[in-house]
């Protein structure tokens, strides 16, 4: 099993959708939320995504397609 530490940021219009619940039903991954701050106009979560490499990548792609900002926990690794 692989795992990936991610930060997810929800735009306002996505806050009411059960995105993580759908994620776990659609892909063979587990999630372990470590930190979160969800308010009426924005939400962010720090979590671990656990599964095979392939399922993790599919799950990340799906989250991005839902409009969620998905970044590795390191923040923006890329500089310049």
């Amino acid at each position: 099993m692989n795992s990936m530490k991610l930060k997810l940021i929800y735009p306002e219009e996505k806050i009411k959708e059960p995105i993580l619940s759908k994620l776990c039903k659609t892909f063979d991954v587990d999630i372990n939320i470590r930190k979160a701050n969800v308010q009426e106009n924005i939400g962010w979560l720090e979590l671990e995504l656990i599964g095979t490499e392939e399922e993790i990548e599919k799950a990340m792609d799906w989250l991005i397609k839902q409009g969620i900002e998905v970044s590795p926990l390191e923040g923006q690794v890329f500089t310049e």
Binding site: N2, K7, W44, V70, S71, P72, E74, G75, Q76, F78
Partner: protein, 412 residues
């Protein structure tokens, strides 16, 4: 006795051994090196440092490295009393810390990479890696090649090759990933987890970032072992800014300076200012942005150390400001015209913000102010195209020279 106690989580304080790890397994907070200052105090002195190598390694007692093996000429850059710029801004004791001439690749990144790769070698890594198209890639490629490490650089594939010539010359393996910067970030993170490589700002980040403290150490020594009243520094990930603060605090902690650490002023580009926005809105978390600025070297939309930078600005009684593209270019030109230093856009941002704060009357004219210039303008000359005077064209005739050149310049 060891100078380092270990790593500790910046959020929950949980302790970890000195290993190539960077995130707390419990709360996912970033890990930071913790020193035994009582022990360091016994070994460190101004005299010992002054007799040390003319590089950042003179401060090895306050760095997380036992044996300096990489980047032996990095650091020890000039601190210039900026009389002309000071006059322009009404500041009598303005200094420029000039890392545009840092060795070997002309930006402050040579400091952090020297520390990261020296530590990586201690850990037994033989491969260095980073995701960058600019200063960081230049530095990792150069220092990996001179220290005999293998090197991988990750970039988005739609990038023009001429952007990375300054790295390619050192012969790293450049991996062009189909996707945007976010995709490269995610892949880099996955690779860092899986391969035994020193990914400079991922798994060896706690050590890497400590290199920026030397920007504080050098300034204090160059001022005659004192802290300036205020500093202005660029904000990208927030790491450099927070480590400059940590550096001055450490010097006080071990008794090398007596005065209080400086007020910390931070500079961001208006096209990428998530830390500034959090600071102004009183938020302790960062809302990521999509960068749109000419200041590419500081355009980090999701800055990892942003919340800590906000904290430092508050704690030090400093402030933050932003500069537009036009103001950044004016900042580059102002520094060049007054002090003969050609910096890139991050330096232009810092100078533009310094000017704004000076005009607002934030500084007392007698105070010692240090502005950090972190990179070299010769690397990104294209940003100035169309913003500089054109040459005066004449025929090879003395008459025309007198009429068009002397006439114009005397009149003008």
């Amino acid at each position: 006795m060891a100078k380092i106690k270990g790593l500790a989580c910046k959020e929950c304080g949980r302790e970890y051994p000195i290993e190539p790890i960077h995130v707390c397994e419990f709360c996912f907070g970033p890990l930071e090196v913790v020193y035994d200052y009582e022990e360091i105090k016994k070994n460190i002195s101004r005299e010992k440092i002054e007799k040390g190598p003319k590089s950042l390694w003179r401060y090895i007692d306050l760095l997380p490295v036992e044996n300096a093996t990489v980047g032996l000429s990095a650091g020890f850059t000039p601190l210039i009393k900026a009389e002309n710029l000071g006059k322009e801004l009404g500041l009598k004791n303005l200094y420029i810390k000039d890392d545009s001439v840092n060795h070997p690749t002309l930006s402050f990144k040579d400091r952090v990479v020297a520390v990261a790769l020296s530590k990586a070698k201690e850990f037994g890594f033989d491969t260095a890696a980073c995701a960058s198209t600019g200063n960081l890639a230049n530095s990792v490629s150069a220092l990996a090649s001179s220290s005999g490490m293998k090197c991988f650089v990750f970039i988005p594939s739609n990038l023009e090759t001429n952007k990375i010539i300054g790295s390619l010359v050192f012969d790293p393996v450049v991996v062009a990933v189909d996707g945007n910067y976010d995709d490269v970030n995610r892949l880099s993170s996955e690779i860092a987890n899986e391969f035994g490589w020193a990914f400079v700002n991922i798994n060896v980040r706690p050590y890497y970032s400590e290199g920026s403290k030397t920007l504080a150490f050098e300034v204090a020594e160059q001022l005659g072992w004192k802290s300036p009243d205020a500093v202005v520094a660029p904000l990208a990930s927030g790491s450099l800014y927070t480590k400059i603060w940590k550096g001055f605090n450490e010097l006080k902690e071990v008794g090398l300076i007596n005065d209080k650490p400086p007020r910390m002023y931070g500079a961001q580009a208006s096209g990428c200012s998530p830390i500034y926005e959090a600071f102004k809105e009183g938020r302790d978390w960062i809302k990521p942005v999509k960068p749109d600025t000419i200041a590419k070297s500081i355009a980090i939309g999701n800055p990892a150390d942003g919340p800590y930078a906000v904290k430092v600005a508050k704690e030090s009684k400093g402030d933050m400001e932003i500069a537009t593209n036009e103001e950044i270019i004016e900042g580059i030109k102002l520094l060049a015209k007054t002090e003969g230093i050609f910096t890139e856009t991050a330096g232009g941002t810092t100078i533009a913000v310094l000017k704004k704060f000076a005009e607002k009357g934030v500084f007392n004219p007698e105070e010692i102010i240090v502005a950090y210039v972190t990179g070299n303008g010769y690397k990104t000359m294209e940003v100035l195209e169309g913003h500089l005077k054109s040459p005066i064209h004449i025929k090879p005739s003395l008459h025309e020279f007198k009429e068009k050149v002397i006439g114009q310049t005397v009149k003008g």
